[in-house]
Symmetry: C2
Subunit: 96 residues, 2 copies
DNA sequence: GTAATATATGAATACTTGTTCATATATTCA
DNA sequence: TGAATATATGAACAAGTATTCATATATTAC
């Protein structure tokens, strides 16, 4: 299978979104349902700023979705591909 | 789902293996079957050195497997998880 | 209006990573 | 044995990235 450079870059960017432990832990938390930025930051002992920066990247790659309610923003997994990628990767690292 | 830091790192490392366009194109080529280092390098217009460096990383993450025959080394996709991850990611970037 | 809270963003820094170049190892052939 | 070929590896440099800190925006409460 010969992949165009453009498509290869798109694919690499997708996997890059999942290539950091902080982002993986964010997504793991979101697997249970939507959470606010503060709740995510508290849950992972990260600053809100760091979380916010990471969420931006995940949002731009359509891995998570934001829902604003009052002054809070609730994040959730964007689409099913994401949870399947996560689960498949999780299975892979289990068997080692 | 609360993930241990260690498991998050493992998962991130797995996805990191797929987070570069050159590696994605290597894996795409290998989806059709095993190939030598030179054939891969030729197919992607990369130096053998660059290919070899990348293959080492993929090998260490158990994404590809090496088979030595004479002075050539033939690489192939290591296990089914890998092709499934690749395909799932590919589907995701198609729908955009 | 002001104060307080939640999130986002830009710049700077420290860290990681992919490639190149030079060199090393391994194998085949004469 | 020595020359040629295939691959691997170490060091170095350039480019990319995650976090922190300071600051900005937006919303609610008073």
């Amino acid at each position: 299978m010969k992949l165009s450079e453009l498509k290869a870059i798109k694919l690499a960017e997708l996997f890059s979104s999942l290539s950091d432990a902080s982002r993986i832990r964010l997504i793991a938390l979101l697997m249970d349902g939507e959470m606010s930025v503060r709740a995510l930051a508290d849950g992972l002992s990260m600053t809100e700023s760091a979380v916010s920066h990471q969420l931006r990247g995940l949002r731009q790659m359509h891995l998570v979705r934001a829902r604003k309610s009052g002054r809070q923003v609730f994040y959730s997994i964007d689409d099913d591909h994401v949870s399947r990628l996560f689960t498949l990767g999780f299975d892979h690292v289990q068997h080692e």
